[in-house]
């Protein structure tokens, strides 16, 4: 059984201590929602787990792979505040590049992923011509391609309509049912089974 362990994590930004001695374990099949006020360190925590930021103290491991090891990075998928799309590239081209960066899948099915997320026929549209919600959907369509076990989603429901939120909730449930685990931050209500919650 896969397990993500976070031990005695402390994080400081500027002169502010955001959190200290934070420890939790997340097993496969579980979803963890990080809640807290604006500026409480939710994004910083996700960035630390993704390997983008170093913690002041503490350690993180997933199935014996240490943070920033190649295996750890292959097993984690991080989707941040920004959609990570280049406006000069089409939806497919953006997805191709993001998939190349985050996975080792040889020939992923982008068309099906875009269809599942509700962007059929937008494959060759340049990202600059899309709305904020559609851009967010393209980034989230990585969830239909990725084989990473740990999903780290920072405000995944921002700009999404209620249908979009439902699609993503279903995909997170499917991912957890197949042995994955997910950590997300959101200020919106979400209806996901096996949802654990920690507050910062």
């Amino acid at each position: 059984m896969s397990k993500l362990s976070v031990n005695n994590l402390s994080c400081q930004r500027g002169y502010n201590l955001l959190f200290e001695d934070l420890s939790f374990e997340l097993n496969s099949g579980e979803v963890l929602r990080i809640s807290g006020q604006n500026g409480s360190g939710k994004t910083s925590l996700l960035k630390i787990i993704a390997g983008l930021k170093s913690p002041e103290l503490g350690s993180i491991a997933f199935e014996q792979s240490k943070l920033n090891s190649e295996k750890y990075q292959l097993e984690t998928l991080y989707l941040g505040h920004y959609a990570a799309l280049s406006s000069e590239l089409s939806c497919i081209e953006n997805l191709e590049y993001l998939t190349n960066l985050s996975t080792e899948i040889i020939s992923p099915d982008f068309h099906t992923a875009l269809e599942e997320i509700g962007l059929k026929n937008y494959e060759y549209e340049l990202a600059r011509n899309l709305s904020a919600g559609q851009k967010r959907r393209i980034a989230l369509s990585l969830l239909f391609i990725s084989r990473s076990k740990v999903w780290l989603l920072d405000e995944p429901f921002t700009s999404l309509d209620s249908d979009g939120v439902k699609i993503i909730e279903n995909q997170i449930e499917k991912h957890c049912a197949s042995g994955g685990l997910c950590i997300l931050t959101t200020h919106q209500d979400c209806n996901i089974k096996n949802l654990k919650e920690i507050s910062l």
Binding site: K53, Q73, A83, A84, L85, S86, L89, L98, L101, S102
Partner: protein, 221 residues
């Protein structure tokens, strides 16, 4: 296809779909060099003497102009975050981005310089040496510039800071490149200058991507 080629092709594709991003510094290069004969003197002898210096100084400034966009765009839209946490080698991806930058900024300058050399009355041998120094040194400008660009990536309007960081590192290149072209006009040996530029190229090719990667990780914190 490996991540180096994938990143290189992506960056080139993006640049050609928004050509003003790399054409503006090139226009600056051509226009400012062509203004010197009007401003100083149309006299062939005067222009021939100052031509290596003019072309090299404007080359550096136009590369500096384009450096700001090397990582900024990908930083603003979040792609740089994905690059940093990718399982691929970060220095290799950064080398690909720097190579794309050289193809879009250094290579067109190399191709245009013979024409501008003729406009400044350089003889054919000096033009040949000028192109040779540009071939050896423009990749260094992009590679050394990538270190500065990654250090200031998270700072808004960092053009002045980037220039202050990078220009001192460009000075040895400027000295050796211009002296190679000037000395070739008097038929003096220029092997020393070319060896020096070659060694800077090898050193920056080996070290710059790794230093950029460390600088970028610090900037992303």
């Amino acid at each position: 296809m490996n991540i180096f080629l994938i990143t290189l092709i992506r960056d080139l594709k993006m640049a050609f779909r928004n050509p003003s991003s790399f054409l503006n510094p090139l226009m600056f290069f051509v226009i400012s060099i062509s203004l010197f004969p009007i401003a100083i003197s149309p006299n062939a002898e005067t222009l021939m003497t100052i031509a290596p210096g003019i072309i090299w100084v404007i080359t550096m400034l136009s590369v500096l102009l384009s450096l700001n966009s090397l990582f900024h765009y990908d930083f603003d839209n979040g792609v740089l975050e994905q690059i940093v946490i990718s399982h691929h080698s970060l220095p290799l991806v950064l080398l690909a981005k720097t190579t794309a930058h050289w193809i879009l900024s250094g290579l067109p300058i190399i191709l245009l310089s013979p024409l501008l050399g003729i406009a400044l009355f350089l003889d054919s041998k000096s033009i040949y040496i000028l192109v040779l120094t540009l071939c050896l040194a423009t990749p260094c400008l992009s590679l050394i510039g990538s270190i500065g660009a990654s250090l200031v990536v998270s700072i808004k309007n960092s053009g002045m800071l980037l220039s202050l960081l990078i220009l001192p590192l460009y000075i040895p290149i400027l000295i050796f490149a211009t002296s190679a072209v000037s000395q070739s006009q008097f038929n003096l040996s220029i092997n020393g200058q070319l060896y020096f530029l070659g060694s800077i190229l090898i050193f920056s090719l080996i070290s710059a991507p790794f230093i950029s990667a460390v600088a970028l990780r610090i900037s992303m914190e």
